[in-house]
């Protein structure tokens, strides 16, 4: 957020300033609880709309609460108690208080993928997808066993089925890679800023084409590739308005 001096709210906007710029300055003032500067004709009604949008609910919250309600059955009075979660003493917890994810700004779904070449995969995901490497875990011999990444607000993990702590899993057949299975039934869809650039980097780093980059009817420009470890990714950039089926 841009900091402004206490008198800035009364400044008359320069004539050259675009409408979008003017409106945003007024919005910043409004969101910070200050009086917005005088606006060009036609922008005041937009500021009124913006005022109505303060306190817009997060879609993620609405969906999470719907899921909680579906899980809580009134005939089982302990259901709400089981759903409740105390949060570090920040606020007293009352009856029916909502479950909160541990990390509020993160997507709650975290894919967990098996890869036999984790060190190379870390470099691939870092350089091709721009993933931030949050954690790498190596076993005493130096073999990388586990790594965690973040792209935007989403996280994903990889694990090496050859690592010692997964040996029982591997024996039971729960730690198979796409190469072991001859394919993967799960594909990952990632939003990126420039699909063509990411797709080019993926192919240069050894990925195989699953789906050439093209504009799709739902409004994203999409390319699909299988990474060198067998996992299939779609990278997508929104390019235009979604086509409604009834239009």
């Amino acid at each position: 957020m841009i900091k402004r001096g206490p008198k800035a709210g009364r400044r008359i906007p320069a004539p050259a300033r675009g409408l979008a710029e003017q409106l945003d300055r007024a919005l910043q003032a409004m969101l910070a609880g200050r009086t917005p500067a005088p606006l060009a004709a036609g922008l005041t009604p937009l500021l009124q709309i913006a005022a109505g949008l303060r306190g817009l609910p997060r879609a993620e919250f609405k969906a999470r609460l719907a899921a909680e309600l579906a899980a809580a059955h009134p005939s089982r009075p302990d259901a709400k108690r089981r759903l409740r979660k105390k949060e570090g003493g920040k606020m007293p917890v009352s009856k029916g208080r909502a479950v909160k994810p541990v990390a509020q700004n993160l997507d709650p779904v975290m894919p967990f993928m098996y890869i036999r070449e984790p060190a190379a995969a870390v470099e691939f995901y870092r350089t091709v997808l721009g993933a931030r490497v949050l954690m790498r875990e190596a076993e005493p011999g130096g073999v990388l066993s586990h790594a965690q990444f973040q792209i935007g607000e989403s996280r994903f993990m990889i694990a090496n089925p050859a690592s010692r702590h997964l040996s029982e899993y591997a024996r039971a057949g729960w730690a198979r890679t796409p190469r072991d299975l001859g394919g993967t039934p799960v594909h990952l869809y990632v939003q990126v800023a420039d699909v063509d650039r990411v797709f080019g980097k993926a192919l240069a780093a050894g990925a195989q084409v699953v789906h050439e980059v093209r504009d799709m009817e739902w409004g994203d420009r999409v390319g699909g590739f299988q990474d060198p470890y067998g996992h299939v990714w779609y990278v997508a950039t929104p390019v235009r308005r979604r086509v409604q089926p009834d239009n």
């Binding site: 997060r58 609460l65 606020m91 029916g96 208080r97």
Partner: protein, 177 residues
């Protein structure tokens, strides 16, 4: 064909949810925006608004079997629960008790309904405009943060914001006609 009476539809939805709690989802979908709009105006911050809204719907689900139709819309019953939850929350955090919240005044009602409608209209925006509005107002991010997330310039994000607000204004005007 006659257009179904709104009150009759609501009564049927309540009866269905009283018989089968899984049907509560319809009442939730129909009233979420209204309750959130009511609560968010009175809560300290977004986290508080989410906590109280969750509380309201959990209570509504738990007390639904006791609900008796007396000609008052279901939304009014929910807002009473919300007012109590806000008072309760206010006492818990040892702040001044929120006064006169037993029921929203009639003058507030239109504003509340407008805000709930505005929330729903955001869903109908073009994808990029919707993302900007959601990030700016629901997630309270700065233009710089939104630009970084969308891979756009700050100028482009401000343009999207302007267009989205224009579209919402037009949609609200249309709905008022």
């Amino acid at each position: 064909l006659r257009r179904p009476d709104k009150t009759a539809v609501e009564r049927a939805a309540i009866k269905a949810a009283q018989r089968d709690p899984a049907r509560f989802a319809e009442l939730y979908e129909g009233n979420f925006e209204l309750v959130y709009a009511f609560v968010s105006r009175r809560a300290r911050d977004r986290e508080d608004a989410e906590d109280i809204t969750a509380d309201v719907f959990h209570q509504a689900l738990a007390y639904l079997p006791r609900f008796r139709w007396r000609g008052v819309p279901f939304a009014a019953w929910l807002l009473k629960i919300a007012a109590n939850a806000i008072n309760d929350n206010s006492r818990r955090i040892k702040r001044d008790r929120v006064a006169a919240l037993a029921e929203p005044a009639q003058t507030d009602r239109k504003e509340l309904v407008d805000r709930a409608r505005l929330s729903r209209l955001v869903d109908a925006l073009a994808p990029n405009q919707r993302r900007v509005i959601v990030m700016r107002f629901a997630e309270q991010q700065s233009i710089r943060e939104i630009a970084a997330r969308l891979g756009r310039t700050e100028g482009a994000v401000k343009q999207l914001q302007l267009r989205a607000l224009k579209r919402l204004r037009a949609a609200m005007d249309k709905a008022d006609d």
